[in-house]
């Protein structure tokens, strides 16, 4: 076990931590919208029924928030310990979003969450409602800055590499924070969180209906969650489509891997599952044109000319040559930094010219750019994510349909389906991250830094030990969360407290 490489264990540890962290985050984002909506209904309708419902979902939000809070901090520990080259290399780009996240969003959450939980009957209804929404907005803003940092790793923009400090320095904050890639990543990820909250609320409400308890609250919760959930699903489709366009443009190898597309072309079909294809659909998804050209893995490796634009794209070998030029120039720059100004300037010129391919200099074999295990994993991750999304949308449509006719209780199969669908929404979310992160391998930062250069020179045995420590810690937290959550659900909503 200890013979496995340092890179693989460091990756496994980061993946484990990120996957566990992402169990808590989407439910926080989703329940924030549900409880905010219900409290808004309470304030508008002046009906304590909605207050009771809002407080129940708020309690579940609080449990999830408490268990999940600070689990993301461990990712930052891992950056410093296992990925120190990477951390320094990206420092300024990551530093700004993460600092803003820490200061603005965390304090916003910390302040308003206290008012939300302690303030019932102590502050005005409107102030309490504002605090509830601001708690959710704070959590969402936290996600924004983290996703900005992640989007930059997928498509590094708005920076310049400084060979003196060996860091990327931000030159355009708006490009880093507000360009299409981070915006779409944020909207897609946050709306998937809303869907998670909605599926959870529907599933738990179905449990109440199956137990013939709290029927009015359960039915009202199903209605609210199904409406928000369907809106979220539509929004996820739109932002997913836009993310697909971004992927085709900025990470064509990830798209080709997700499709298992070896040879590209025009009017390319979309593979639903192996053996079933929709003609022209991949071209539509990748370019919004049924005759659009989509390069395959072989095209990207061997180089190609886009038959529509006439644009020539370098082969992997050509990029590796340019990458090696950049790395050698960087080495010369450091060598002559203090001794020979002319050679240093000359090296910087070559470096700047080839910086775009810096990471390719570390690639020893072009086949590292397309490992087969990656293709299988991202192909199926994408299909599970989309398939589950479609299935959950259908469940919500049925919920609204039978709910409108007040026949939910008569269709116990649907109640059971919704209840047992709760884990599916998490599986879909994890599949989304597998597509995003495994799909861009071998890059820590797309085209600039492969994992082999990003990793620290630590002992792999220490990474293995911390991997299993995390496994224990996070599993204990998950068990704690599930135990407390189930207890709270079984107890049900608290009696209504007299309003001020």
């Amino acid at each position: 076990m200890l013979d496995t490489s340092l890179i693989d264990w460091s990756r496994a540890q980061f993946a484990l931590t990120a996957c566990y962290h992402w169990l808590f985050v989407p439910l926080t984002l989703g329940l924030a919208v549900i409880m905010g909506t219900m409290e808004t209904l309470y304030v508008i309708k002046k009906d304590d029924f909605w207050k009771r419902a809002a407080r129940f979902w708020m309690k579940l939000f609080g449990i999830n928030f408490a268990i999940g809070v600070a689990t993301g901090i461990i990712l930052e520990f891992e950056f410093g310990t296992n990925w120190s080259n990477y951390s320094w290399f990206v420092g300024d780009i990551f530093g700004a979003p993460l600092a803003i996240e820490g200061i603005l969003a965390f304090f916003m959450e910390a302040t308003f969450i206290a008012v939300m939980f302690f303030g019932w009957n102590k502050v005005s209804k409107s102030f309490h409602l504002t605090s509830t929404w601001l708690t959710g907005i704070g959590a969402t803003l936290s996600a924004w800055w983290i996703l900005v940092a992640n989007a930059w790793m997928q498509h590094p923009v708005g920076m310049a590499f400084n060979p003196v400090t060996v860091r990327n320095e931000m030159t355009d904050f708006s490009a880093v924070a507000f360009s299409a890639a981070p915006a779409m990543k944020f909207l897609h990820t946050v709306s998937s969180g809303w869907l998670t909250g909605c599926v959870f609320v529907i599933g738990v409400s179905c449990w109440f209906l199956l137990k013939r308890r709290e029927q009015p609250m359960a039915k009202a919760s199903i209605k609210v969650a199904a409406i928000i959930g369907l809106f979220s699903a539509l929004f996820i489709m739109f932002t997913g489509d836009q993310s697909g366009l971004q992927m085709a443009k900025n990470q064509p190898m990830k798209l080709a891997s997700a499709e298992g597309l070896m040879d590209g072309g025009k009017n390319m079909p979309f593979s639903v599952v192996p053996g079933i294809k929709i003609p022209g659909m991949l071209s539509v998804l990748a370019t919004h044109d049924i005759n659009g050209y989509v390069p395959g893995i072989n095209d990207l490796i061997n180089g190609y000319t886009d038959p529509i634009t006439g644009e020539k794209h370098l082969s992997a070998d050509q990029k590796m040559v340019k990458g090696r030029l950049a790395l050698n120039a960087f080495r010369d720059f450091k060598k002559y930094e203090k001794t020979d100004q002319a050679k240093k300037d000359s090296a910087q010129l070559v470096l700047n010219k080839n910086m775009k391919y810096f990471g390719y200099g570390y690639i020893k074999d072009k086949h590292e750019l397309m490992p087969k295990s990656k293709i299988v994993l991202v192909y199926w991750a994408f299909r599970f994510m989309v398939g589950i999304g479609v299935f959950l949308s259908l469940v919500m449509v049925l919920m609204l349909w039978f709910g409108r006719k007040d026949k939910l209780e008569n269709n116990r199969w649907l109640l059971y389906t919704a209840l047992y669908s709760i884990p599916l929404v998490w599986i879909a979310g994890q599949c989304g991250w597998i597509l995003t992160e495994v799909g861009r391998q071998p890059w820590a930062i797309q085209d600039l830094l492969p994992l082999s250069a990003a990793v620290s020179g630590v002992e792999s045995s220490s990474v293995v030990i911390t991997f299993f420590l995390f496994l224990l810690l996070f599993t204990a937290l998950l068990v704690a969360e599930l135990t407390i959550l189930l207890k709270a659900i079984r107890k049900g909503p608290e009696p209504i407290v007299e309003s001020k």
């Binding site: 408490a66 120190s84 939980f117 620290s456 030990i465």
Partner: protein, 72 residues
């Protein structure tokens, strides 16, 4: 006087809130244990940032060397 009144109200708000917690007590216990494990056990004993204790100048030299060394 007005500032003192506001501060006192905020203090009472939080004090009463914490006193009246029911589920919150269990959750705070979980949070405290978790933070202790993360910041004391893991941070002190298992995570030693590779560049800690270095000045920025030393860090840039170290990472520069690492990146050049990995070319081979």
């Amino acid at each position: 006087m007005k500032v003192i009144h506001i501060l006192t109200s905020v203090w009472r708000f939080y004090r009463d809130g914490f006193r009246n917690m029911t589920w919150g007590r269990t959750l705070w216990l979980v949070i405290m244990i978790k933070l202790f494990i993360i910041f004391v056990v893991l941070r002190l004993f298992f995570f030693h940032p590779a560049l800690s204790g270095m000045s920025d100048k030393e860090k840039q030299n170290k990472v520069g060397e690492n990146l050049i060394e990995k070319i081979k």
